[in-house]
Amino acid sequence: MIRQLLRPVRLVAKALAAENSPRQLALGFALGMVIGLVPKGNLIAIGLTLILFGTRVNVGAGLVAAVLFSWLGVYLDPAADDLGHWLLSDPSLHGLWTSLYNLPLTRWSGFNNTVVLGGLGLGLVLFYPAYEISRLFFARAQPPVVSWIRKYKLTRVLFGVELAANWRVG
């Protein structure tokens, strides 16, 4: 139960100091960015969240990025809206959208909304640059941050809990 309660705090600490590779941190961050840019309350957002939690990427970095880009997404809405309009009104893609529209469950994904599709498109376009930039950042920033953060007792306690949880047998 304590483990469950401390889990969010642990995730933040883990994002910064866990022994994850910069690649996993960068992937988590890029995925979190896409989640942040897409409006919530649709299957696309739920699906992206499921990917974040279901793959071996850094969840903490992903959550931080999601929160950060959800806030930034409000300012990026006009750009996402324009991109969504451009995609949804493109005649060459009309057949694709119509087919998707008539598939079960796809209307719950909100793909036919300009901000959702534009946000997703924007996120996918920015995914690789964000991944590369954040990977370089984490590769440089991770060692000093880890050594600094491990000095604190709380971090050690959190990691102890994580270790104890992982060592449980049976």
Binding site: P39, L50, F53, G54, T55, R56, D77, A80, D81, G84, H85, L88, S89, H94, W97, T98, Y101, N102, P104, L105, R107, W108, G110, N112, N113, T114, V115, V116, G118
Partner: protein
């Protein structure tokens, strides 16, 4: 790359939920981890309902602009069913009342349509529906929507105004103090004032002559015997001269009396002429155009039928506000971004209610009634559904009413038909018209009301029919119109009117409706009202004529008596003067000792003294 540690347990638990659904909860109870998962699922279940409840309240408040309260929500995702309990929606126009409240509502959705984000209600039922119930707390939110209003053009109102004018004219006629303005009476009174003045002048002139004659007599009697006869001759000559002058004045006075007598005759003619003028005026004032039946109908029923019509149209307009608008094509919806709508193999509306059963109760004037109804074919895009909305309802209890509504917006122009049948409508006591003028107090009874209304596009046509066979009416009249006395005569006149049939024909557009009233009541009543009013006015006219005749005769008689008295007095004085003049003449003749032959008839001296 897949994090099975995260995904695996969730998939496993999902499978366990499915297993629990099929095989029961016992395996879960035996395993603590599965029980924990069950608790998580329970939390999800319990969390879903408050979420739906909150969403419904927000949606309802956004739609109505007033407070929406919802007691309980139960959702079942497995069989796509939602149940609501104790829903209360405040009335935007009256914050201390609910627009409606319901005890229970259940909605059974089609699961397959939900996959395509379509809400197709297979069956829905609303029970314990009540309208306009009292609230304990105000139900207004910060921004209340505007109240419904109607710019209803009612021709009947104008006609009713005319009826009021007619009644006011009758009242004014009966109340007019016309005798104060009789010209003939005024003229006679003026003559009575004038004639004594004229005769006073004549009388003073007669008295003056009488004095002069006395002086002449004194002059003749003053000289003593033995005085100089020549002086006597001078005196006699002077007296003779003055006698001639006095005689001339007497003659003038007589001719003035003659002139006044002639003037009296002329004045009498003038009085006669003025009397005829007064009679003509009385006849003209008492002449009244008959009250038109249509005018009376609108005066009596215009306000009541107008109220019904307004109420009916306002209710329909309010209902139409909440009905789905005609949607030709499904356009992108603008919210956060724009939601595009693409072609479907079989286009269908986003929301369809195939069947909605309504059960509820209400009250009119404190008398309760129950109603049962069913709505079919309700949809958010009627044109896509291609079938009309059909609503049938029936009430029982204090009101027996059958309602059928047919709203066909599947083609252009849309055609809405509303039919209401109310065979036994209990009516309280009604007051038709205005109590300070003419009013009819209709005793409580049972009426039959039917309404058929067609709205094609925006064009409105319809008929509101009202019938009552047990009519019992008591008229009342304002004091200006004759009060209770005339009202009792009117009541006798309309004793045979036992039936009331009225029809309101609606036309124009729904935004600017017009109505025309058709009823036989006005015709039946107008005959009675006209007869009674005419009798009253004729009696009043005869009374006025009799009073005029009496007053003129009395005043003329007193004038003639006055003139006669004064004339007699003046004539008496003149005759007295004549006798004295004769005596003076004889004295003059004796003074100058003239033989009587010289003073006899035809003598030169006699001529001299004339």
């Amino acid at each position: 790359m897949i994090r099975w540690k995260y995904l695996g347990p969730r998939l496993l638990l999902f499978g366990l939920v499915c297993a629990a659904y099929w095989f029961g909860l016992d395996p879960l109870v035996r395993r603590p981890r599965l029980l924990l998962f069950g608790l998580v699922c329970a939390a999800y279940w319990f969390g879903l309902d408050p979420l739906v409840r909150r969403s419904l309240i927000s949606l309802g408040q956004a739609a109505t602009g007033t407070k929406v309260e919802l007691g309980e929500v139960r959702t079942s995702l497995l069989d796509s069913r939602v149940r609501l309990a104790d829903l209360k929606v405040a009335d935007p126009k009256s914050p201390m009342h609910n627009l409606f409240e319901l005890r229970e509502a259940s909605v059974d959705l089609e699961t397959r349509s939900l996959m395509n984000r379509k809400f197709v209600v297979r069956e829905a039922a609303v029970r314990g529906l009540k309208f306009h119930t009292r609230r304990e707390t105000p139900g207004n939110l910060d921004a209340a929507p505007g109240a419904f209003g109607f710019d209803l053009e009612l021709d009947g109102d104008r006609v009713a105004d005319f009826a009021l004018d007619w009644l006011e004219h009758v009242g004014a006629t009966l109340q007019e103090e016309i005798e104060e303005d009789f010209e003939s009476v005024k003229l006679v009174r003026e003559l009575i004032q004038r004639w004594p003045t004229e005769y006073e002048q004549l009388k003073s002139r007669a008295e003056s002559l009488y004095g002069q004659v006395d002086d002449l007599r004194g002059m003749l009697q003053s000289p003593s015997p033995g005085t100089n006869p020549l002086r006597s001759i001078e005196t006699v000559q002077r007296v003779a001269g003055q006698v001639a002058d006095v005689q001339g004045q007497i003659g003038q006075l007589r001719s003035d009396l003659e002139r006044l007598h002639q003037q009296l005759l002329d004045d009498r003619d003038r009085v006669q002429e003025a009397t005829e003028h007064d009679v003509e005026r009385i006849r003209r004032i008492a002449h009244l155009e008959a009250l038109d039946a249509t005018t009376l109908s609108h005066y009596l029923l215009g306000s009541e039928t107008g109220r019904w019509t307004r109420s009916l149209l306002t209710s329909i307009r309010q209902g139409r506000k909440y009905l789905p608008k005609k949607v030709d094509t499904r356009q992108p919806v603008r919210g956060r971004g724009t939601t595009y709508v693409f072609a479907e193999p079989v286009p269908s509306p986003d929301i369809i209610v195939r069947s909605l059963v309504l059960e509820g109760e209400g009250s009119v004037d404190g008398r309760p009634y129950q109603f049962f109804g069913k709505i079919e074919g309700l949809s958010s895009q009627p044109r896509l559904l291609g079938e009309p909305i059909r609503f049938a309802a029936r009430t029982c209890g204090s009101i027996e009413l059958a309602l059928q509504v047919y709203l066909d917006n599947s083609s252009d122009p849309g055609h809405d038909r509303i039919a209401i049948q109310c065979p036994r409508l209990q009516q309280p006591e009604l007051v038709l018209g205005r109590e300070d003028q003419l009013a009819l107090c209709v005793a409580p009874g049972t009426a039959s009301v039917s309404v058929v209304l067609d709205i094609v596009g925006d064009e409105l046509s319809g008929r509101l029919q009202f019938q009552r066979d047990d009519l019992s009416m008591t008229p009342t009249l304002g004091p200006k119109l004759g009060g209770a006395e005339l009202a009792s005569k009117l009541e006798d006149a309309m004793r045979d009117v036992r039936k009331l049939e009225a029809a309101v024909l609606l036309s124009g557009t729904f935004e600017k409706p017009q109505w025309t009233l058709r009823t036989g009541l006005g015709e039946q009543l107008a005959a009675g009202v006209n007869r009674v009013v005419r009798q009253e006015i004729e009696a009043y006219r005869d009374q006025l004529l009799a009073r005029l005749d009496e007053e003129v005769s009395t005043e003329l008689a007193s004038l003639e008596r006055l003139v006669h008295d004064h004339q007699r007095q003046v004539l008496d004085q003149l005759q007295l003067g004549d006798r004295q003049i004769e005596e003076i003449k004889l004295q003059v003749a004796s003074r100058i000792q003239l033989p009587k032959s010289l003073m006899g008839k035809g003598s030169p001296l006699k001529r001299l003294f004339r």
